[in-house]
């Protein structure tokens, strides 16, 4: 306890320092996005006392990635909502979406995976993930100068959230309290690894899963996140990824494919019936993913302005269009459209619109959705069958394929009337970004799989697989 009281005191002292710094009031709050350029409107008379205050006290010691918080309550409220929505995507959304699709003997294990991955990824985000993703690398590494390192990965300066106070902000979003920013980004860092679990469902060990996810969060997710959004080279290169087509979906989809190949097929794959145990759970899951995805995509505008609104509308339209097009394809080919199909289409559309959400116009979004349905259908139904890998719940077929499709189509449909950044859109750049992401993800995943294989192990025993992971790993049964 004593240590803690000391700790509090140290924190209190540093906070006191910070608090004498210029506190920008609500009335000054600049909007988060470049659009809302209110700076001209800020009356000089109000700026003056702030300057005065700054003169009285030493400036706060901000880290390289930080700015002082210029609290924009409205945008904070919006991002707060988005955080809740994205959190809901994983729990209970994804847990149910995946849990409903496995066989009854693996429901509990599958659901547990989403929960456990959330724990590991969330806590590691606090420990080191945020720092590596959004911090600035300030030390040379392997002989590379810090500046070069920072193109690939952030630094260790804000490990354990050191330097984060209630008055700091991430420099690209100065209107949002940094802890809000950290929370919002944490929900992305949680769902991305959780998505991978679909690829090797029904056959992975819990210890192996946890080790894999811990390493993957740090060595695959954080770097790619930094490269695209955190100041790294992909962002500077002009790769457009509004809400995570590459960072989240291609990344997790490719990791899933590699893992599925590495682990091998489930026992009985192709011969035994492996129908979903509960399509209603799948529906609830998909629907909550849908609702939550609004926070994922529109929330990535960081403020509910015109771009955020476009992202919202685009997300809904693309999802519905892809659900419809998948359904129509199935209706034609299979004669009877399935609920699983229309829901898979919905998710495929959501994935595909993710990189494009705030860059394209609604017509573009609709078309992206219409294309995403059949494309992901082909991957989940034919490519998988043809190539013979066992991507249990189509992490690759939907997230990998849909994400890549969306990333390319972002280059095609990006509309400068929606977002000025769209001017720089180019299919070439998008593809370069994709190729790079795929390589990093595939290689990183493979290395981590090898490590896990020789430490914790990865696959459960045949007997456990046959008995079902629920009773074998958790001693629980779902009736």
């Amino acid at each position: 306890m004593k240590t803690w009281i000391k700790f509090s005191k140290v924190l209190a002292a540093s906070a006191a320092l910070l608090m004498t710094a210029p506190v920008v009031t609500v009335a000054h709050a600049a909007a988060v996005t470049s659009e809302a350029a209110v700076s001209e409107a800020a009356p000089a008379s109000e700026a003056a006392p702030a300057e005065a205050a700054a003169a009285e006290a030493p400036a706060p010691a901000l880290l390289a990635h930080q700015k002082p918080l210029e609290l924009d309550l409205a945008s904070s409220s919006f991002v707060f909502l988005s955080t809740a929505l994205v959190l809901m995507m994983t729990l209970p959304g994804l847990a149910l979406f995946y849990g409903g699709m496995v066989r009854k003997k693996n429901v509990i294990a599958t659901v547990t995976q989403s929960v456990a991955v959330s724990c590991v990824a969330g806590i590691l985000w606090y420990v080191v993930g945020y720092s590596l993703s959004f911090g600035v690398a300030d030390k040379a590494l392997f002989g590379l100068p810090a500046e070069t390192v920072n193109k690939f990965i952030g630094g260790f300066d804000t490990v354990l959230l050191k330097g984060v106070t209630k008055d700091t902000a991430f420099n690209l979003a100065p209107g949002l309290p940094e802890m809000l920013w950290i929370s919002y980004q944490m929900t992305f860092a949680i769902i991305t690894p959780a998505l991978i679990t679909g690829a090797f469902a029904e056959r992975i060990k819990l210890s192996g899963l946890l080790l894999f996810m811990a390493l993957w969060s740090v060595f695959v997710y954080a770097p790619i996140c930094h490269q695209v959004w955190g100041g790294g080279f992909m962002g500077s290169m002009g790769v457009l990824d509004f809400a995570g087509g590459a960072v989240v979906h291609v990344n997790s989809g490719v990791a899933g494919l590699v893992a599925a190949l590495f682990l091998g097929r489930r026992k009985g794959y192709g011969t035994e019936e492996m129908a979903p145990n509960n399509l209603i759970f799948v529906m609830i899951g998909a629907a909550l993913l849908f609702v939550g995805w609004i926070g994922f995509n529109a929330g990535s505008a960081w403020t509910p302005d015109g771009i955020g609104a476009a992202a919202l509308l685009n997300t809904i339209l693309a999802a519905l269009a892809a659900a419809l097009s998948w359904k129509l394809v199935e209706w034609t080919i299979r004669r009877k459209p399935s609920l699983l199909g229309i829901l898979s289409g919905l998710v495929a559309g959501l994935v595909a619109i993710t990189p494009a959400a705030g860059f394209v116009n609604p017509t573009g979004a609709l078309i992206i959705g219409l294309i995403a349905g059949p494309v992901c259908y082909v991957f989940a139904s034919w490519v998988k069958k043809l190539l013979g890998y066992d991507d249990s719940l189509d992490a690759f077929g939907i997230h990998g394929a849909g994400g890549a499709l969306g990333a390319v189509l972002t280059g095609v449909f990006a509309d400068p009337a929606i977002n000025s950044l769209s001017e720089g859109a180019s299919v070439g750049t998008q593809i370069m970004g994709l190729v790079y992401t795929i390589l990093w993800s595939a290689i990183g995943t493979l290395v981590i799989l090898v490590i896990c294989k020789f430490t914790t192990g990865l696959r459960v025993s045949e007997a456990d697989e046959e008995a079902g992971l629920d009773s074998a790993l958790h001693d629980e049964v779902h009736h």
């Binding site: 019936e273 299979r334 399935s338 699983l340 989940a380």
Partner: protein, 112 residues
């Protein structure tokens, strides 16, 4: 006494029950079952994997009746459960040595 076991289509249960009630059958036990037979199942396709669903949902009725009631019960079930289409099901008849009513301890035909 005879034990009559009938495998029927699920939606015929109510009709069969009423038919049996009418001829004076006082009790029966019903189980959910899946049947495999000449009636072919459909095939389900999930994300590229096709499964032939061989087993169709059926209802199994079991009733024990006095020997003399057996023919009428057979007749009743058959009439009520028949749709004339493949998959209507089967009735099996076998012997029962003894019956006990748990509540009273009675045994033999009066326990049915």
């Amino acid at each position: 006494m005879k034990k009559i076991e009938a495998v029927i289509k699920p939606f015929k249960l109510d009709e069969v029950k009423e038919a049996l009630q009418e001829i004076g059958v006082q009790g029966m036990t019903v189980l959910e079952a899946k049947g495999y037979g000449r009636q072919k199942g459909h095939s389900e396709l999930y994300r590229g994997a096709e499964y032939v669903v061989d087993f169709l949902p059926k209802i199994k009725i079991e009733l024990v009746v006095a020997d003399d009631l057996a023919p009428a019960a057979l007749e009743a079930i058959q009439t009520a459960a028949r749709t004339g289409k493949i998959g209507d099901g089967k009735i099996f008849v076998s012997d029962v040595i003894d019956v006990v009513r748990i509540r009273t301890g009675e045994s033999g035909p009066q326990a049915v």
